[in-house]
């Protein structure tokens, strides 16, 4: 955590709403994107973001300074998303550890096939595919790649075993790889 953020956090904990506003500015875009990608609906995402920040503000005096504010905030927002979307909790729990061993290592030969121009098009196509991933996988992908959280942080955040998180991410990448193969066959 940056020194500046630490200072805002300290002031916000003492009831300084302006300092909390700075923390909101720092995190709101990421929090909004997390909610948007999890819920898939901009209106729901806005509601969750608003509710999440208000809850964070109310609970801030009890926040322990030794933990990461961002992870704490994500936990609040994620719980709100899961409350709105109970199926997601079940989908996350359904990602089992055992199946990881059955999944083959993905081939990374795609880069040899794609030219730079094609790579750009492929990227756009892949980004569309990311939105088509099942919600549970999309959430894990967002936490891993957008928010750059470690596997351990994600596991703690979504309350799942580490192996399950790895399986979910593996499956998401595999799904995208399959989509890329289909795309390559088409061009």
């Amino acid at each position: 955590m940056e020194l500046r953020e630490r200072d805002w956090l300290k002031r916000a904990k003492n009831g300084d709403a302006d300092a909390f506003g700075m923390l909101v500015s720092l995190h709101e875009r990421y929090v909004y994107n997390l909610a948007l990608r999890t819920l898939g609906n901009p209106q729901d995402a806005q509601d969750v973001v608003q509710d999440g920040f208000v809850r964070a503000w109310m609970a801030l005096p009890g926040f322990r300074a030794d933990s990461e504010f961002r992870t704490w905030l994500y936990r609040i927002v994620l719980n709100l998303c899961l409350n709105r979307f109970p199926r997601l909790r079940r989908d996350l729990a359904a990602l089992s550890d055992e199946e990881l061993a059955e999944l083959p290592e993905p081939a990374s030969h795609a880069r040899d096939v794609l030219s730079i121009l094609e790579a750009d098009e492929a990227r756009t196509s892949l980004q569309r595919e990311i939105f088509r991933l099942p919600e549970s996988q999309r959430l894990l992908v967002t936490l891993r790649y957008q928010d750059e959280l470690s596997y351990e942080e994600i596991a703690s955040l979504v309350n799942l075993p580490l192996g399950t998180v790895k399986t979910g991410l593996f499956r998401a990448r595999q799904r995208l790889r399959q989509a890329l193969s289909v795309y390559q066959e088409q061009i």
């Binding site: 709403a17 506003g21 806005q46 608003q50 503000w57 109310m58 795609a110 990227r123 596997y151 995208l176």
Partner: protein, 123 residues
């Protein structure tokens, strides 16, 4: 995790564009935050109600308990009260009363300090 920058999958995942924040969201969030803070300062929790109910009912409970005591128990208590009076423990009783009053004053001061917190800087 090994990061392969040339792998199109990793590349697409890492470079997924962030959606723009909807206009006015920040303002809406902050206005809710400020309202919530103000409401929170004058909030009465269940613990406040429970404590006041307990202390409010305490004299009634004591009176009821005293009335419901069997006659023998009342006599026993009277006897021990007389023994206590004969022990000349008056200074000790005054000390206990003083300590009780002091803790009441301290609790009152603490509650006064909590309720008269300075207004938030942003308000």
């Amino acid at each position: 995790m090994k990061i392969d920058e040339f792998d199109p999958i990793e590349n697409a995942l890492r470079n997924q564009p962030l959606a723009e924040l909807p206009a006015g969201l920040h303002r809406r969030v902050m206005s809710h935050v400020r309202l919530t803070r103000q409401a929170q300062r004058f909030q009465i929790g269940w613990i406040d109600l429970a404590v006041s109910l307990f202390f409010g009912l305490l004299p009634v409970l004591i009176a009821f308990g005293w009335k419901s005591l069997p006659r023998e128990a009342g006599l026993y208590l009277n006897y021990y009260w007389m023994v206590f009076q004969s022990m000349n423990l008056e200074p000790l009783v005054w000390l206990a009363i003083l300590a009780g009053l002091l803790s009441l004053v301290l609790m009152f001061a603490a509650s006064l300090r909590l309720s008269l917190q300075p207004p938030l800087r942003s308000e």
